[in-house]
Amino acid sequence: MESPLVVIKDVSFQYDSQESLALNQINMEVYEGEWLAIVGHNGSGKSTLARLLNGLQFPKEGSITVAGITLAEETIWDIRRQIGMVFQNPDNQFVGTTVQDDVAFGLENNGIPVDVMSERVVDALKKVNMDSFLDQEPHHLSGGQKQRVAIAGVLALKPSIIILDEATSMLDPRGRAEVIETIMKLQKQDKITVISITHDLEEASRADRIIVMNKGEVYREGTPNEIFLMDEELIKLGLDIPFPIKMSNKLREKGISLGQQYLTEEELVAGLWTSHSKM
């Protein structure tokens, strides 16, 4: 495998107001161009990890390296230039008084020339279907619209790493699939690295790799196939079994034989078809 783009080494972190560690001895690597999903129960430390990556908080112990640069007070701006982050609550992220100003704000900060800027702003808002809201105040949007604008803000920046912290939690399932699809296309095309924190197991099952967090620690790391083989163990971790696997298990209980594990509905239906069409 190629050398990792992000290396998190023995990182621990504790909030001042808390008695226990929010993150305990985290070791993790993120590879260039991959889609990494981070899942885990509420309070398991996912957002804290994202804040550390973005230099909003600093580890109490351990180190974080992004593209060869070690994260510290002096390097924080070099690192932030490479990372675009969408926060869990979009309201905390808006700075502009209109949707287009808000998206432009980040570009201005990164010294993008004005003529390129307006084109990029509209382009990014088009990608998330929000180009008809250019002059609306971001706080005066519906929940899902806010999330779309927050995502556009990051897409416009064209960073090399995108961190999504439950960035699509308020979109309808189809809207969510569309936005994820759009980001996946950009990811492939521009070789962007995506770290997606999510409670949506369907989305996680499309990732290249999944990391499961539990009580501030990395519980397991693997491909979606490996992770979802954990079955009942997932429920203990606050997670659930994805729908296609749940249906497969129920079919097996009814005596229907299925050769392998299917992660998507398409695969499951196709599998049923091949095993039941030739008879």
């Binding site: 107001s17 129960h41 996912k46 899902g144 309808d172 039941h276």
Partner: protein, 289 residues
Amino acid sequence: MDISLKNVEYRYSADTPFERLAIQDVNIDISSGSYTAIIGHTGSGKSTVLQHLNALLKPTKGTVFIGNREIKAGRKEKNLKGIREKVGIVFQFPEHQLFEETVEKDICFGPLNFGVSETEAKKRANEAIKQVGLSEEILEKSPFDLSGGQMRRVAIAGVLAMEPECIVLDEPTAGLDPRGRKEIMDLFYKLHQERDLATVLVTHSMEDAARYADEIVIMHKGTVLQKGTPNEIFSDPERLLAHGLDVPDVVRFQLRIEKTFQTKFDRICLKEDELINMLAAFLKRRGAQ
């Protein structure tokens, strides 16, 4: 207590250059003890409708009846406290309803405000925090020192502690982990059944709408597209899909099976086990032929 919206229209920032028509011609009846789910796209007007149910927003046209109160467009309303006490809303963003310095004070705020004694309020807070799956220790923490999902749970606990007659939930499970999502939805359903608590749920989960609601209302571009029981709403999945709406996983799975095997089962199944039974029997018949 019944709530109904009659020909309701709402414009944000009415009579300013920023005026925006959000909903119009909306008619919805919520009878006491019922469970209603409201579904629809981003921006279709769901949250706007919800805020009329406890008079946080007042219609710019039409009338909202809440119990024996009548909220009419263009009329000043006084003393809405009685309404707020009976109709509890869990907002789409939990941060919007947390403001006290500790979680306990936050949860007690509603009950105290409505005249409950301090001892009783604290007792309710203690009970509510456990109901939403958090430990008592969290009561002493600041609500802003919590993870997103923990804040969501605290916001829900605050509304439960008010012991309202009607509970209005705006995507209450967004941000919850998958197990928490199921536990909280089961909790709402239990309260709905045990206390006859009228429940209005805005959700993007077609599974939850199908599983829990007596009636589903589909919002589309600011108007009501369709109303009906889950069976009525999902009996014609192609129509929903054509409107860019979703159907429960189990329905989508059935459609995929039917298409691949070029068959039609005699009904649309909303329950997983029902479909599995039908599918297993079908596959075995095929095997036997």
